[in-house]
Each structure stands twice: as structure tokens, then as C-alpha cells.
Symmetry: C2
Subunit: 231 residues, 2 copies
């Protein structure tokens, strides 16, 4: 799904009779090295920042020579963007996965919001989650064109939140202006990437509880019958 890095030597059959195009004989890597570059780049960009990370750092982290990353990505900026794009695509896929049972069982808006928030924390703070933080905190370093492309993916990610927040607003559970509330809520969640420490403090479930308690007003006192008792 990438314009970059089409398979090398398209139809230059060289020695090899008719295998898939490989650069050399050893087939233990494939497009695997590219993924390793992405993983290491994400980790380093997050820890040190884009500007403070050299392509040599990244190459060394995956055991390559200094010029080799440019075989997979045409520039350092392209590598950064690839990290962000993979982060978003993976987040969207994960979100759809998380919502699938919710659709089936017809959960109410509160439960759906809880799922969205819990999933968001997972994307942001779960294991191997450097891609989205890089996207959130290095946006200055990509081109306007790339930013626009990312904005589209972000819109896709935010899509499922809208009807949930609208419904909660209509039901009096969300008091603030819906658009501003959404921006503020995402801020509250996204900022956790700056302070959350997986090894100590609250669990992601506790974080989710806190966020729900912070954002949602109690159900209207005189409601029907089915009230949920939250811990």
C-alpha cells in the first residue's frame, strides 16, 4: 500500500530461474527489514525526537550500514511519514476490531464510549505503541501534503466517536459543546503518552474509569429503570 519501495529488479531475471524477485539468495528477510526499520525508527523518533535521530542511528539499530535505509525509504522524511501512516492504519484496524462486538450486541452510548476510550489507551500506551505518539508529537516535521493525507486517516479514526458523543450530549450525559468536548477529550487521552508509565501507577482500565468519570455527567436522576452501577 505504499508508493515507495517497489520490489527491486522487477523483471531482471539474472541467475535465478523464476523465483519472486529477491536481491540476493538469502530469503530470511524479504520485506521484513523494512518493517524492522519502521519499528526502530518509531522507537527512536519517539524517544529522541525526529530531529535528534539520525538515519545512522536507525540503521545501526537494525544492524545495517549507514546508507542502507535509503534502499527502503527514499528520505528520512519518508520514513517518518511511513511510521505515522502505519500507526494510523493500525489504529483504525484495531478500533474496528474493538467495536465489532459492540455493534452486534447493541450497546448503549456509554458502553461504546468506554470501548473507544479503552481502545484508544491501548493504541497509545499498550506494548509496542510508539507509532501513534510519533504521529502526535512530530507533526511539525512532515510536509503539508503529508499532513493532509494523515488528516484524512484521522478523520476516519474519529468517525465512530461522533455519533456516540452526539447521543451522550442529547441524553444530557455530556454537557459541553460537542465539538469542543471532543477536542478536549482527545487532548486528555493523548497527553497520557507524556506521563503514563506502564510499570507503575494506574492500569489502563483504571485510566479508562477515570476518564469516563471525568467526562460524563451522572445519568439523569429520574430516568427509566435500567441504571448501571459503576465501580
Amino acid at each position: 500500500m505504499d508508493t515507495r519501495a517497489s520490489p527491486p529488479t522487477p523483471q531482471s531475471a539474472a541467475k535465478r530461474p523464476r523465483g519472486r524477485p529477491r536481491k540476493t539468495a538469502q530469503d530470511r528477510d524479504d520485506g521484513n527489514r523494512r518493517q524492522q526499520l519502521l519499528n526502530c525508527a518509531a522507537k527512536l523518533f519517539r524517544r529522541k525526537g525526529f530531529g535528534a535521530t539520525s538515519t545512522r542511528d536507525i540503521a545501526a539499530a537494525v544492524g545495517m550500514q549507514s546508507g542502507s535505509p535509503f534502499y527502503h525509504f527514499k528520505s528520512k522524511g519518508a520514513l517518518l511519514y511511513a511510521v505515522m501512516e502505519e500507526g494510523m492504519r493500525s489504529a483504525i484496524a484495531r478500533q474496528q476490531q474493538a467495536l465489532r462486538p459492540a455493534d452486534a450486541s447493541g450497546l448503549d452510548s456509554e458502553s461504546r464510549l468506554r470501548i473507544l476510550i479503552r481502545d484508544h489507551f491501548d493504541v497509545l500506551l499498550g506494548p509496542g505503541s510508539d507509532f501513534i505518539p510519533v504521529m502526535l508529537y512530530e507533526a511539525r516535521s512532515i510536509t503539508p501534503r503529508q499532513r493532509a493525507a494523515l488528516a484524512e486517516l484521522q478523520g476516519e479514526y474519529e468517525g465512530p466517536w461522533i455519533p456516540v458523543l452526539d447521543a451522550l450530549h442529547a441524553g444530557g450525559r455530556l454537557k459541553a459543546d460537542v465539538k469542543l468536548a471532543r477536542l478536549l477529550m482527545f487532548g486528555a487521552l493523548n497527553w497520557s503518552a507524556q506521563w503514563y508509565d506502564r510499570r507503575k501507577g494506574a492500569t489502563l482500565d483504571e485510566l479508562t474509569d477515570a476518564a469516563m468519570a471525568l467526562f460524563l455527567a451522572a445519568p439523569a436522576a429520574a430516568a427509566k429503570g435500567a441504571a448501571a452501577s459503576a465501580g
Copy 2:
């Protein structure tokens, strides 16, 4: 109301017989150039990021030669830290100013929180407010020692929030765990530096209203008599 841009040439009378030790004769700058460096550095660090801003960029922005910033700051990192420290000191001073009348007139916790939030938006989004965003988003680029020093100032800034949030929690207006609520709230506010556009969208007052409505539960229905009617 800005700590920056103090009036130039305080009492330096022309040739001046026995002034304080100055490097050369021309007295049109003083410690003024240093402040210009800080202002321009803050603006550039915020727009382009620390890594993508060269000391030459900064020098050019204030009309200096490339080596001259190092007369005022011993390294690029020292300049970054100076921006952050000035941002925090100025934010603390501004906060104390904002709270002064509140102390005097004995406002309730809700009103005090509103003042804190409104002031925070001012520090973050008001005119000439590049210093705090730089501090928030370039923390990776300073040394652990500098981070520790900043953490102390941040503690000073957060101090006034604690009793207010505790009181609101005790009064049932803030439902979430207080510590997590504080972290999430600061996230919601701080993130606004990423999306807020002064020229369009909501005003800082509207933003403050939205934040208050998002964070605070309605006052307990059966309270005493003096209830405030919020818009």
C-alpha cells in the same frame, strides 16, 4: 502584562561615566538582545521544533551573525532551557496575579477553577505564548538535570490547583480519582496548543466554558440555598 521586552536602556545616560560593566560603547541593546534571542528562539522552536531549528536561524531572526548567540548562551541546549524556564516563571507569575483577587474575595472552588483554567488558556494560547508550548513539546531535548529543575517549577504551578480539585472532589463535583483527573485535565488543556487557532473558532472564554462543563458534574440537586446559575 508580559515579562518580556523590558524598556531598553534603563538609566544608561549616553557616554555614562561609571556605569555597570558593559562590553562595548553602544548602549542601544543591554540585556535586550538576549531577550530578543529568547523570543525568536521560542517562536522558531515552536514552529519548527528544536532539532529543525539551527542557531543560525535564530541569529538571523534577530539580525546577528551566526556565532553571536553563543555570546549570550553557552550552547543551543542552554538557549532551549532558558526559553522553558522563562516560560514557567512567567506562567507562575501570571497565575499568582490571576488568583490574587480570588483570594481576597473568597470565591468558591468552582470559580477558582474557572480562573485557573482561563489563565492557563491565556498562558498557552494568548498573544506571544510560545514559551510554554516549547516547554511542553520539547521536553525530550533537555537533560535530566534540567528536567528535574523544570519539574520543580511545574510543581509550583500546579500547587494552587490541588486544593481546588480536592474541594471539588469532596463536594461531589469532580467524580474521578483526583490525581488522574488532574493529569487528564491538564492534557485536555495543554493539547489545545496543537489545534487552537486564535483567528477562528471559539474564544478563550468559550473554551473555558466548555472545559468547565466537561469536567464538573452539576451541583448536587438537593444542596443548600446559594446555587450559582451557569450559562
